[in-house]
């Protein structure tokens, strides 16, 4: 029962590993591997990139880290990063 008691919203009396009301833990991929939604994927050309960070700033998914690595597992391919890149260093490539 220890595991049950640790579950958010669960009670020992419920004798269940479920919480008593829908209680959800934060995780990456709540909607699954959203990278599979893409038709085009953003690719950063490191040579022309001025590291201004606008792609990081505007990514609605927080899928670009400070090393400018894109998390393709979750990037939905919206293309905002490519559109906003002042040096046109991000190309949208067909998957």
């Amino acid at each position: 029962m220890a595991e049950t008691e640790n579950k958010p919203g669960s009670t020992a009396t419920e004798k269940s590993d479920m919480p008593i009301t829908p209680a959800s833990k934060p995780v990456n991929g709540a909607a699954g591997k959203t990278g599979t939604w893409r038709t085009f994927k953003p690719v950063i050309e490191k040579e022309s990139c001025k590291k201004c960070g606008l792609c990081i700033l505007y990514c609605p998914e927080a899928c670009i880290d400070k090393e400018l690595e894109i998390d393709y597992e979750y990037c939905k391919g919206c293309g905002i990063c490519a559109n906003e890149c002042p040096t046109k260093s991000i190309k949208m490539e067909r998957e």
Binding site: G9, T11, T13, E14, I20, T21, P22, A23, S24
Partner: protein, 365 residues
């Protein structure tokens, strides 16, 4: 301490005794004295709680839900249209498994405007997952609020304490304002919002899981029936006042049982005494706990059910509930709607003239 108190004041005093942290309420006749009394105690610093003067009943219960979801003990009070305006949130509170206690001062529903007693308001909330109690005395109002907090926080279901508008809300009767000490333990909510444990509550739940949560409300309601008995037992041992899911009167050898809820059902006991003097073996059962609905033993008895409510196209609501669980003929009396006065003489007269089965509207039939 004993003093004279109205039903409404008893609600407020019990809320104070229960160490409620957040009260959110909107005034409505005949509940107003509840919120006025709480407001007065809060502003005079004799009661310590946050009191939110919301702009509607929908918001009253929403605010209680917010407070309760973060682990605070919460209270609201309403009546009639206010209760109906809350309806969406009434479902939400139960589904979120929040141990909120609400006092509902039973009042008829418009149109026409009518501010007097009727049970249809609360009974139209019967399928929401709230426990429902119907009190018949000022003392019982006070005691039931206290026991409701303990019960609600044990099974994580909200509880509604009902009292008849004006007839009980505005009657003064002697009240023992009992210091209950540690009777209600500190609230323990494993599913409280907690910034150290960022959990999302009540998000989209698919057909694969939704029904499981509904089933858990069902099992919690079943458990509530047992917990209520043990809480009533502890209450009786500590404070000397005994309650049960039903309050029976002279039923042992009764050939006729008269069932009802609230003040009317208590007055029925006086009618029972009258009938007994005439040689009619009558007894009465006052349903105190409507949800979870109690088991009744009615076999071999003539059953008369008084409903201060009605479900159009179906019949008296209490009669339906009894019929569903008991295979007995029922003589269903519809009496007391919208404050219609029903005296013990009237009750006795109806019983004398009653048939084995059928429906009778007082003043109409």
């Amino acid at each position: 301490m004993k003093k004279m108190s109205t039903g409404n004041q008893a609600v407020a005093l019990a809320v104070k005794e229960s160490d409620v942290e957040v009260v959110a309420a909107y005034p409505i006749t005949p509940q107003t004295e509840v919120v006025e009394t709480i407001a007065s105690m809060v502003e005079k610093n004799t009661m310590k709680c946050a009191y939110i003067r919301v702009e509607s009943e929908h918001s009253a219960l929403a605010a209680c839900i917010g407070a309760s979801a973060s682990g605070a003990r919460a209270f609201t009070a309403t009546s009639s249209h206010g209760l109906l305006y809350m309806h969406e949130m009434i479902h939400w509170a139960a589904g979120a498994r929040l141990p909120i206690v609400m006092a509902n001062i039973n009042r008829a529903v418009g149109p026409a405007w009518n501010i007097w007693a009727e049970h249809t308001d609360a009974l139209s909330q019967r399928d929401t997952g709230w426990m429902q109690f119907y009190a018949a005395t000022v003392q019982e109002v006070y005691d039931t609020v206290l026991m409701s907090y303990k019960l609600a926080e044990k099974v994580y279901l909200p509880a509604m304490v009902n009292l008849d508008g004006f007839i009980l809300s505005h009657s003064i009767q002697p009240l023992d304002i009992t210091d209950t000490g540690d009777f209600i333990p500190p609230i323990d909510m494993p599913h409280a919002l907690n910034t150290d444990d960022p959990v999302t509550y009540g998000n989209l739940t698919t057909p694969a899981d939704y029904y499981k949560f509904r089933h858990m409300i069902h099992t919690a309601m079943q458990r509530a029936d047992k917990e209520a008995r043990s809480i009533e037992k502890e209450f009786a041992e500590r404070f000397g006042r005994q309650y049960g899911p039903v309050m029976e009167y002279r039923t042992d050898d009764a050939e006729i049982v008269i069932l009802g809820m609230g003040t009317l059902a208590r007055e029925t006991e006086v009618a029972v005494d009258l009938l007994r003097k005439e040689g009619i073996k009558a007894g009465s059962i006052r349903i105190r706990q409507f949800r979870p609905f109690p088991k009744l033993d009615l076999d071999g008895k003539k059953v008369i059910v008084f409903d201060r409510d009605y479900s159009f196209g179906a019949g008296g609501i209490l009669a339906q509930e009894i019929r569903m669980r008991n295979d007995v003929p029922i003589y269903n009396v519809i009496a007391g709607l919208g404050g219609q006065d029903v005296s013990y003489n009237t009750i006795a007269d109806i019983v004398r003239k009653s048939k084995d089965e059928g429906e009778f509207w007082l003043g109409v039939d």
